[in-house]
Symmetry: C2
Subunit: 270 residues, 2 copies
Amino acid sequence: MDAFNKLNLKNQSSKFICIGLDTDIDKLPACLKDTKNPVLEFNKAIIEKCSGHAAAYKLNFAFYERGGYEGIKTMQETIAAIPDDILIIADAKRGDIGNTSLMYSEAILNNMNFDSVTVNPYMGYDSIAPFIKNPEKLIFILALTSNAGASDFEKQKLENGLCLYQLVIEKVNQWNINGNCGIVFGATKYEELCENMTRIGELPVLLPGVGVQGGSLEDVIKTFKKYRRRNFLVNVSRGIIYKSNGTDFADAALNEIVSLNESARLLLND
Amino acid sequence: MDAFNKLNLKNQSSKFICIGLDTDIDKLPACLKDTKNPVLEFNKAIIEKCSGHAAAYKLNFAFYERGGYEGIKTMQETIAAIPDDILIIADAKRGDIGNTSLMYSEAILNNMNFDSVTVNPYMGYDSIAPFIKNPEKLIFILALTSNAGASDFEKQKLENGLCLYQLVIEKVNQWNINGNCGIVFGATKYEELCENMTRIGELPVLLPGVGVQGGSLEDVIKTFKKYRRRNFLVNVSRGIIYKSNGTDFADAALNEIVSLNESARLLLND
């Protein structure tokens, strides 16, 4: 099943929550500390409990790279533990000259078997082209991010009146000839999200920033409902995976995603 | 020795060439194909021959990530083979929300022991802050890159009259309170380099794009000479490491870097 179909099937069954596996060895429950690979055991337990309810999983490369090659091995073993019908997003924010982006694309989308990857648009079209040439994969391009620093460059006004991130959204729509481009838009930037729904058009949207970062699930869902759009993912990382620090951590994560799904369903009146 | 001192000592002895270890398993000499780890053998041979002449080594993460965790292991083993007095740059182009950039910084600068890393400024100050807080490391922030796509966003004119990449350079100068920031500026963008030398000021500059990408070593050296600046690195990857495809590949790389150093010295009249 290609990436777009995976996302679509989950979205159509009212699943919009992407679980961010930003697994930090320093934050794991004490009960896992003596296992051979605590990060892997933690991820597998979350995946086993939550996969019936997750719309997607997002793996943040930083948290695995921190463990060197063994951390990357754990990341690859985590990918292998995720059921085939669930979209797996590499939160890698890559982008480089064409020759290098091609290598990243092969690394992440082919060899590591991710369905999807986040990419950084700063270096322009040829830095993104190698990723989007495979129509079976879904490429989320950073538009307006959830952090305060988004004001430094992303929100800079251009000579033509658009903000930089708005130009990015317009370019992504132009580049989307394979129908496999999406954007990243911070859930913390609610006002800008409302203002740009028409500009975003039919692009799938990945929204990080709900929970610890302060974004509101309710605001996001209401906005997409208003525009009759269902192709979006709200990422929650720390708010789900660290809900409990005890032996019940996976059950607590399950309860949290079930509760978030229920909230989403009520807001959509499904 | 901290990163700045490493760079400084090489620059003062008229070494400006950074060898890009963009080692592609598909391009290695046939004589290495049957070794246990051809990429590592290749890198070690280049390092052994060329370290007396290199100003720095730059490892492009994409080429190692392509091999999965074993590729990252090879990257870490390559780092261990580089002499202590030579700057090692992680060409990783990272940048994420603060919490994640902190993890990348720990991964790359502490755990993997790189002296330096390239970062992408799109997400703004808080995405870069965790990298630049360590004064012993040298952080190269993308300004104007060597590829054609630089026109899509980096060269966009802002409302205030600056191009986006010029605003990045000005911000980097403001953020440089630890004196450990540099910029990446494509050697293929000669005209813009000349126009921005004053804006760049004292920031060290990493210049990719000489060789296969079409940038000219002569143009770069003449520009820095004119402004009496010596803190720069010209990266050459494919032009050095793939100079020969035979058993003499390391000698051919050595000859090439010696020749590039000699050209640089003549141009500087050292």
